[in-house]
């Protein structure tokens, strides 16, 4: 009798767990309040440890890279020179663009479409799980964060926001992308310099060689090896022109109709301390 009862409890527990897992796998829009509360409390405590540890680690890193500073400085000097040159050109083009937009009666919304705000967020903790490299940042829905917003560093795209609590949010790195999963996420992408002609979808990451897979590239697409892949911003939440990585190789896709490309991610996903969340101006339709 006792044995039967124990078995019964065990089976009920198993069924309960599978139900919870199945439920959490579905495309959830919002977290429940206990989850939000737990996320915020734990995130608050975690940041006391993550940031100081980062400082100390950064100190050692600085000492180690002291010798590279000179070379880096020389490289940055040339970059600044070319930046100043581009800046004057950019100013002229921007003015002209504004003038033309005014002439063509662009609405306020259309004009502001590419005015992104970048919010600095501190990383609070990283998930200790090989199949879930989610990390937490210290901005949340109170700061205007929403699901699927892009998260970047200076080098390029890192990931997208997967769930939001009032004061913290979880970020799914693009290394977790998987086109074959139950509710896959895709990033539409194009190539820098050929934005009009090139299009593909970044859909998964290969853990073995550390590369992203971009598929559904048209046959006549001008994409070649060494091209810099950027987000195309087709689709509302993702901004335009964020660097994803460089193409290392490409080949004919599964059915021979499209091509796939392999991309080396531009950003480092490890030991992050600060990231930027890109906020796209809301379209008038879905403003709250």
């Amino acid at each position: 009798m006792m044995r039967n009862k124990r078995l019964f409890v065990l089976l009920i527990g198993l069924i309960l767990f599978i139900a919870v897992m199945g439920f959490s796998l579905s495309d959830r829009k919002d977290l429940t309040w206990p989850e939000k509360f737990l996320n915020d409390t734990v995130g608050y405590v975690q940041q006391w440890f993550y940031k100081p540890a980062g400082y100390v680690a950064g100190l050692f890193e600085d000492i180690r890279t002291m010798r590279e500073l000179y070379e880096e400085n020389a490289r940055l000097r040339t970059t600044v020179a070319s930046y100043a040159r581009d800046k004057s050109k950019y100013n002229r083009i921007e003015q002209e663009n504004a003038r033309l937009q005014a002439k063509l009666n662009f609405t306020e919304e259309q004009k502001n479409r590419n005015n992104y705000t970048y919010m600095i967020a501190q990383v609070v903790s990283v998930s200790p799980d090989a199949y879930n490299r989610t990390f937490k940042i210290n901005l949340g829905s109170r700061h205007g964060l929403k699901e699927n917003m892009a998260v970047v560093t200076e080098e390029g795209l890192i990931g997208m926001i997967s769930s939001v609590s009032p004061f913290t949010a979880n970020v799914m790195p693009i290394t977790e992308l998987d086109g074959q999963s139950v509710n896959p996420k895709f990033i539409s992408a194009t190539v820098e310099g050929k934005e009009e002609d090139s299009f593909g979808i970044i859909e998964s990451y290969n853990i073995e060689n550390g590369q992203l897979l971009m598929s559904k590239i048209a046959e006549e697409d001008p994409l070649t090896d060494g091209d810099v892949v950027i987000t195309s911003g087709l689709g509302d939440v993702f901004p335009v022109g964020i660097v994803v990585g460089t193409v290392t190789s490409h080949q004919v896709g599964d059915f021979g109709l499209t091509r796939t490309a392999f991309i080396d991610p531009a950003a480092e996903f490890d030991k992050l301390s600060e990231v930027l969340v890109v906020k796209v101006p809301e379209a008038a339709g879905d403003a709250e």
């Binding site: 897992m21 996320n39 879930n132 480092e268």
Partner: protein, 174 residues
């Protein structure tokens, strides 16, 4: 009193796992060395404080991890931690076993734990890697990290959890 402190230490370990360890693990081992220190403590609980304590601790700390780092699934770690703690406790709790046996048992439990998690992610189609790849990629490297941690905390954990277990009948009596 003791029990409260042990739980506090485990909470601290959980926090450090996510906030301090990412900085200590070398860059090219990130994602391959996965710290699971609370799980090692759950195993110590199952050896020295009984399987029911281990089941409770495993489910609660696993659930904590699932909720805090919610990415794909909720309940994977809670299930795996609770099950491993319970099974190890069922095999040998409160037995006087030498240190090497304890360590090899913890090693095997870690393998079981990572395999259960891999299996569940595979079933729910979160991953498509083969088991051999998972084994080489992160299960075996993490095993050594967990063993080193278990070795470092063998003496204090044994003391803490034998108090943890003895407290129980006293609590019941009161």
């Amino acid at each position: 009193m003791r029990r409260r402190w042990v739980i506090l230490i485990m909470v601290l370990l959980f926090i450090l796992e996510g906030s301090l360890m990412p900085w200590l693990i070398p860059a090219n081992w990130a994602g391959r060395l996965v710290p699971q220190f609370t799980f090692v403590f759950v195993l110590y609980a199952s050896l020295y404080a009984g399987r029911h304590a281990a089941l409770m601790l495993g489910v609660s700390f696993g659930m904590l991890q699932d909720l805090v780092f919610y990415g794909h699934l909720i309940g994977v770690h809670a299930f795996a931690m609770g099950l491993c703690g319970y099974v190890v406790g069922l095999l040998l709790s409160f037995k006087r076993i030498p240190m090497l046996t304890v360590l090899s048992l913890i090693g095997m439990a870690c393998l079981l734990y990572d395999s259960i998690i891999y299996g569940m992610y595979r079933v729910f189609r979160v991953t498509h890697d083969t088991y051999v790849l998972a084994l080489m990629q992160h299960i075996l490297p993490s095993l050594f990290l967990q063993l080193a941690f278990a070795l470092a905390f063998y003496v204090p954990a044994r003391r803490w959890f034998s108090d943890f277990g003895q407290k129980k009948p006293l609590d019941d009596a009161v």
